[in-house]
């Protein structure tokens, strides 16, 4: 079947089904499968690998000696164990925070420059999105395994859990408002219950993702940033402690899930 007729069939299913909502969900699932065959995220992965190996910054060094937690230069499987505590920085770090750290320490790039462009616009691509695509793709098929073996990791998990339930802003929303119960939707968009292991695994292991509607790979930092925007909160700062605490909570809840990122989303 050609893609066009497949799409037309999915559209037909969307419009004319008996139990409309269920048929729509099936149609969306078929659409996802259809476009997953060629994920544009692969272009970002290739670009990210180039950037990883390029000599850059005042120190003219590559990121190839960056320690993502499994030792300098070990990329395969590293994402599955993040966030984690790093002794050299005395801080719990997620992937993006660790990449910034490596740019600063290995390449001599300033902290401000390393954080300048985390989320691309159509006119301004982001190296961070490419680097994250490369690193996460190297953990495809690996099971999430956030150990919480260090006290600071356990503390960040606990703090992240409190943030998840923190209601505020003009609309009284918390993360849990949308992601605290099973089988809920906003409009036709299914919402994962991030306190339920199966949903948490499925959600976390498919970020970062190439967003068809945005034409780029979005990172997990972006996912949180944009959730808080819709939550009517102020702007979550890139690689802030709160972002790492919340990521620690969500990543740990996804333990045992098999990474399939960068995935493809609407």
């Amino acid at each position: 079947m050609s893609r066009l007729s497949f799409a037309a069939g999915a559209l037909l299913a969307l419009c004319c089904g008996g139990t409309i909502a269920q048929t729509a969900a099936e149609g969306i699932e078929r659409y996802r499968q259809m476009i997953a065959e060629g994920n544009p995220a692969e272009l970002f992965e290739a670009k990210g690998e180039d950037i990883w190996k390029q000599k850059r910054g005042p120190k003219r060094a590559s990121l190839e000696q960056c320690d993502l937690g499994l030792g300098p230069g070990v990329v395969a499987g590293a994402y599955a164990q993040l966030p984690r505590y790093f002794k050299d920085a005395d801080r719990v770090m997620d992937l993006e925070t660790r990449l910034v750290h490596c740019m600063v320490t290995l390449q001599g790039i300033s902290d401000a420059d390393a954080k300048r462009n985390p989320y691309s616009t159509p006119e301004r691509p982001s190296d961070m999105e490419s680097l994250v695509s490369f690193v996460t793709a190297e953990s495809k098929g690996v099971k999430m395994n956030v150990a919480l073996s260090h006290q600071k990791e356990r503390e960040m998990y606990q703090i992240g859990e409190k943030m998840f339930y923190y209601r505020g802003g003009p609309h009284d929303f918390s993360c849990a408002t949308c992601h605290g119960e099973d089988a809920k939707r906003i409009r036709l968009q299914d919402l994962p219950n991030l306190t339920n292991t199966k949903d948490a695994q499925r959600a976390y292991t498919t970020w970062p993702a190439y967003r068809v509607s945005q034409g780029t790979v979005r990172t997990f930092q972006w996912r949180l940033f944009d959730c808080f925007r819709q939550q009517r909160f102020p702007a979550l700062e890139f690689t802030s402690d709160a972002s790492i605490a919340l990521t620690t909570f969500l990543a740990k809840n996804a333990n045992g899930g098999t990474l399939a990122a960068p995935a493809l989303k609407r």
Partner: protein, 203 residues
């Protein structure tokens, strides 16, 4: 006796590993960490991180949790007492339908003149015709047909939109009037959308 002596330190060690912070300490650190991790942008100031009493209490009762009766009563009584009703509770259902469809407003990405909507369809089924509806809240289809348009029903409907917590403590629904999200006219139009026999909600 010897067994007990051996087991106790192991249990203590396990407990120490499982958690590091007390509940209060974790909450305190979460609040201070959030204050240093967000920045004001557009119309969203850092003051939005400050909780009122309802938000602080309800953060302890996530969706699905059972709220003790005294806690719920206290919230509902205080929130109910603060509802302000306009002279005319029911407006124009057509205008209400437009407000129900709009999802923008109060995000830092929304311009100050962007329309502020109620976004009802994000969470509720409302009418037969709109199939793109969410399920966080209950279905409101035929809300008025089942209840009629008596004065007490109008008061209840307007009041629930104005402040959901006046009727259900720690509801997921925003307090549209209490928190000054919608205008009186918008809330009266939504009341009409729910109650007017001619509204698509009641077909």
């Amino acid at each position: 006796m010897n067994m007990k002596f051996l087991v106790t330190p192991a249990v203590l060690l396990l407990a120490a590993c499982a958690t590091s912070l007390s509940e209060d300490e974790a909450q305190k650190q979460a609040v201070s960490m959030m204050k240093s991790s967000f920045k004001a942008q557009g119309q969203a100031s850092l003051a939005r991180l400050d909780q009122d009493e309802v938000q602080a209490t309800c953060s302890k009762y996530p969706p699905g949790a059972t709220i003790t009766k005294d806690v719920a009563d206290k919230i509902e009584k205080a929130q109910f007492a603060a509802i302000k009703y306009p002279a005319k509770l029911m407006g124009d259902w057509k205008a209400g339908e437009r407000v129900a469809q709009i999802g923008t407003g109060f995000q830092f990405s929304d311009g100050p003149t962007a329309p502020v909507g109620a976004n009802c369809y994000a969470c509720h089924r409302m009418s037969k015709g709109e199939i793109s509806y969410g399920t966080i809240g209950p279905s409101l289809y035929q809300f008025g047909k089942l209840r009629g348009t008596s004065q007490p029903i109008q008061q209840y409907t307007y009041g629930k939109i104005y402040n959901s917590n006046a009727y259900t403590a720690c509801s997921n629904m925003p307090r549209f009037g209490h928190s000054k999200i919608l205008t009186e006219a918008q809330m009266a139009d939504l009341t009409a959308l729910l109650l007017d026999p001619a509204s698509p909600v009641n077909q």
